[in-house]
Subunit: 429 residues, 2 copies
Amino acid sequence: MQKVKIALLGFGNVGQGVWQILNTNKKQIILNCGREIEISKILVRDIEKPRNVDVPKDILTTDIEDILADDQIAVVVELMGGLNPSMQYMLKAMRCKKHVVTANKLVLATQGEELFKTAEEEGVLFYYEASVGGGIPIIREINESLTANKIEQLVGIINGTTNYILTKMTMEGMDFNEALRGAQEKGFAEADPTSDIEGYDAAYKLAIMASLSFGTKIDMNCIYREGISNIKAVDIEYADSFGYAIKLLAIGKDINNRLELRVHPTMIPKTHPLANVNDSFNAIFIKGNAVGDLMLYGRGAGSLPTGSAVVGDIISILRSNTDLSELTNMKNSMAPKKIQASEENVSGYYIRLNVKDRHGILGEIASVLGRHNTSILTVTQKVKSEDNVSLVFITHSTLEGNIMKSLKAINDLDNVNSIENIIRIENFS
Amino acid sequence: MQKVKIALLGFGNVGQGVWQILNTNKKQIILNCGREIEISKILVRDIEKPRNVDVPKDILTTDIEDILADDQIAVVVELMGGLNPSMQYMLKAMRCKKHVVTANKLVLATQGEELFKTAEEEGVLFYYEASVGGGIPIIREINESLTANKIEQLVGIINGTTNYILTKMTMEGMDFNEALRGAQEKGFAEADPTSDIEGYDAAYKLAIMASLSFGTKIDMNCIYREGISNIKAVDIEYADSFGYAIKLLAIGKDINNRLELRVHPTMIPKTHPLANVNDSFNAIFIKGNAVGDLMLYGRGAGSLPTGSAVVGDIISILRSNTDLSELTNMKNSMAPKKIQASEENVSGYYIRLNVKDRHGILGEIASVLGRHNTSILTVTQKVKSEDNVSLVFITHSTLEGNIMKSLKAINDLDNVNSIENIIRIENFS
């Protein structure tokens, strides 16, 4: 049996998952790729650190050169995360004619182009299935399965932490802070949860998916981004009463070569398949002009699911007889596409106001919305006291620009105490 | 721009979808595979037959030899369906060193092995993504994305007709015959609906998926099969009241190298993602030992979704530089696996009886079940008249053998009028 040697850069959660899969599923993997995969070196920061996995110390190294200089190593698997030195190590590995697999969304979203270019120049393969959606094979789906399609829409729940928090808020009536603490205790959220909570993590993943789907390089700054920390228990209750669930969605649309790219909490009809994606599960809903609606659902994180994607990539490389696969390239050769300004995005809106209980206030607000071409689907009013009324509007689809102008005018009305929350509504039309 | 010539065998619904996709998405496809795909010949039965698609008559032929003899044609796409002459034509095309793409589940499920063997001998590629799940890329998922996994379970809603009928029965309270007529009027069910309704179609697709997932040849006769024609509106109402939806499921499990293969109507918890797959949508739920739970959801039929899978396969062939891909082989090299006898399958059971309203009847039945190691989760009784009581039992998980013996004994009880229905319950444990 021919053995193929690979090296891991980093041996955290995912690295240990890869180790475990290669051991547990050894027979299956040999059947699937005709060769045995051996991890012959692992780059770590501290060789002596105690680890959950029983790995021989002599394969651990703290020196990247040990790996780069080893001609026996065919594939380098980068699992350190972060921008640097990950990026530099991957480039070096490619220049040493090693194929590269990574799970690093940050590097891909921000510097993917250089990696694709280098892989092409060096004639090596570069795979990155685990960078989006953990165990969900979304990259292969876009790059290989949907090649007959113009992909028109991507709508994803691609951050498990925020989905877990929103699920807890929805199912158990928790408020945001309580649900966040629970997620941190269970290890679903980090001590500093900013990247998840504020939508950065989802925006990186959206950048990768949208680049591949729409065939253009996406600048991270072009993605509108809003987190979930402003969602209140009361918003979830209102959403429920209107037949909606609130999810943090990453949305990418290609509307006649103008791209709409945004990450924000969104109300979606409870009957939509994405509405039933709960806890830390991820799902990506795709609309192709031939295939129609398609959804992939699964574990977006975790040592074994993410390891499943990483090992799948390694096997793909070993099965490939080519020196250079076209599949690995983002289609950067295409003309850049225009990013639509936020004001031109279209959705329904949920607007929750705190107003004084004065005669005519409802009419005043309705006429502000009407002046800005926004029609109202439904209004709900809850009186708490004369000076404290909760007023909730659900609008029909309208331009974001109309809503922004309306809100400015509404804020100026004497009897409006405050604009409490604004949440977009996606009706998947 | 290099052009690649292909031929279609058959020009029905899917063939016309392929034609349409190649025309509409021409630019996108060139970007994705670097070449233009030209349909240079189409095998039809009748050249003069009016068609929805505007296709030049000079590319139509009624003679397969026209296609086989044309050295310019690199890929033959079989879309005629049925066993013969499809099978013969595919073998001949392979022997003429043409790559073959098919959407034919019948041929694959029953004679796949010969096709794989011939493709390997001739050094051509053989792709069949469209044979299961229409536009859903389930074959690629199993063959390429999940290679790091031991696949433990497949649970699929893979027949759109029956899912449409069950959805109508559930949502609109229709009875089976009414829903079937509606499906026929809408073109979702054929004039002779036997293959769909009785689960044959799902069984063929299960055979294909299970062969690939569990690495063994599946004999169609080993798949337990039961259709939906016996499901009554009242069963759906009861299911609903217990928190279940009824779906026609194709189930494949690999339990320590013993396979469980069955197609039958099944109650599943309403909270399970499969329970929300409605209308003619398909979905396949997979459990891998690394990736965990995964689900693919989409259009399981239709001209464009199925065409999307067919054209995706053609593009994969054109992108491939290899003469022979290992990926196309069912893993027949593995040792055959044992098929578990039905009596050893484990599930919960819904048992609906019609009994006489006699003192002690409930106890009598409960003790029959108890004697056969079957414990009861819940019982519901609806009295219609003294001689006509509807009694519904939901059992905990038990062996099918226990249930079969229990039913025999229950049927012999004096006060039992009839066993009205038995439906398995899948709890996804």
